[in-house]
Symmetry: C2
Subunit: 284 residues, 2 copies
């Protein structure tokens, strides 16, 4: 496994592989790798002859009040995980390498970024789209892997790739969960044991939602009330949003029909946690 | 020479050439090719083993009040010019091929697009940057060629390529002029013979500016007054702007120093015409 911090070197390394006609897989991460990332890497290794992982805590997707500085950066452990799981190159630039001074260019995806997390994290998805465009241009992958846990991110990146005719395919992999249902996230590190128990209610509320839809309930507000009740029960969860939206355009739905995304964002202690489920009602 | 209207086919054709290790040159145009475009194509042919020209009148860089519908589209003549000048592929998609329905993604370059033409053509450079990003992603060139006549466009595209780490080089070629000094432009077709004579004053005013700078004049307003006088003399030229700006950041300069760009935009009859000169005062 090669480890590099420079754009120039990652380009050279990938170029040498591309002429061998190998498929290049890419897993962009912010490090603090967990079993969710490992499942992305495993899928990439299975589907591609060569796998690049980037580790970069991207400042442009954090607002000033967010956790950029304290975001975990366990570099040695991350490299060990990459090595063990068959990664060929780890690209871990510093901020100066990736954002030259005087950066003026942004990639924005309209509409899809107005709802859900976009309402609470202004400029977050502009930062995500821009850094992904940069990383795709540097690495030049055939496929890039994202997790379903960050559902809105995956949809925004897919839209960007299609709209800008980027020559790669976006693969979205299922959310990986702890035995109690909690979606794995680098931010779970911020939770106490007690808070982890409360956090398990996020997925419990999503499962209850799924049951209600399967039982034929089509009134969103009825489902949202039930989910609010579940999450508010312990008194330690601050709900940012619970939304039932169209799975393609992310617009709020009053009546549940077609393919829907049910998404939750909460704060527990200092951690902001998100989760979601996709439900296909089979109806148009 | 191959002519194609589909993204899929241009990708396949270029891919077959890339494995032969040929350098790929790209000249994006809106058609109505003239000797300015021909000089870009000639440079591309000289520097690259394979040359792609795109012909696409890009709707997203025109405002509703501009000349998108009446912009000249002499397709047969354009193809003849490409064939004669050694172009390998002409890519001429229609609007539906390049902008899929429901496009939501834009590339914006801040600050550089606030001055000069950006003040008078809102969203113009957003359209230019976005379509260039798309075309670069489709064609995958090593070098792309732009004319110095559209100075602000060339600077914006260079900034985008650097900021987004796009893997290509932007080559800017000198402005090509008629014997009377008028910069060649597809929009010169809108001019009567009388108006062409008046239009020659644009370059005359720029030459006068250069003389004044060479004579040691460093006060921008003195130079701008002189240029206004030259352009206002026939009474048929409507000045949109005359600006003396820093050649790198495009900010207005009161005192002339360093590398400067002097840029002019005027309306004559129904034609909007632009021109510029670069002057290096040799001073910091």
């Amino acid at each position: 496994m090669k480890i590099t911090e420079t754009i120039e070197q990652v380009r050279q390394l990938v170029k040498a592989v591309r002429v061998q006609n190998k498929r290049i897989g890419f897993v962009p991460t912010m490090g603090a790798l967990h079993i969710g990332h490992i499942s992305l890497i495993e899928t990439a290794v299975k589907q591609c002859g060569f796998v690049v992982v980037s580790i970069f805590v991207n400042p442009t997707q954090f607002s000033p009040s967010e956790d950029f500085d304290k975001y975990p950066r366990p570099v040695e452990k991350d490299l060990e995980i990459c090595e063990k799981n068959g990664v060929d190159i780890v690209f871990k630039p510093d901020v100066q390498e990736l954002y030259r001074s005087g950066n003026l260019t942004w990639v924005t995806v309209e509409k899809l970024t107005d709802s859900l997390c976009g309402r609470f994290r202004p400029d977050h998805f502009r930062g995500v789209a821009t850094v992904c465009a940069k990383l795709f241009n540097i690495v030049g992958p055939d496929k890039a892997y994202f997790g379903q846990k960050d559902a809105q991110q995956a949809i925004v990146i897919k839209q960007m790739v299609a709209d800008l005719n980027m020559p790669l395919e976006i693969v979205v992999c299922p959310t990986v969960r702890q035995p109690n249902g909690l979606a794995v996230s680098s931010r779970n590190k911020y939770l106490t044991e007690e808070q982890k128990k409360a956090a398990a209610l996020i997925y419990k509320s999503l499962q209850r939602c799924q049951q209600m839809i399967e039982a034929g309930i089509t009134n969103s507000s009825q489902i949202l009330t039930e989910m609010h009740n579940i999450l508010e029960e312990p008194g330690t969860i601050e709900i940012e949003y619970i939304s039932v939206v169209d799975a393609e355009n992310l617009q709020e739905l009053k009546k549940i029909t077609g393919k829907i995304l049910v998404a939750v964002a909460v704060k527990i202690g200092s951690a902001r946690l998100i989760d979601n489920i996709l439900v296909d009602t089979g109806k148009q």
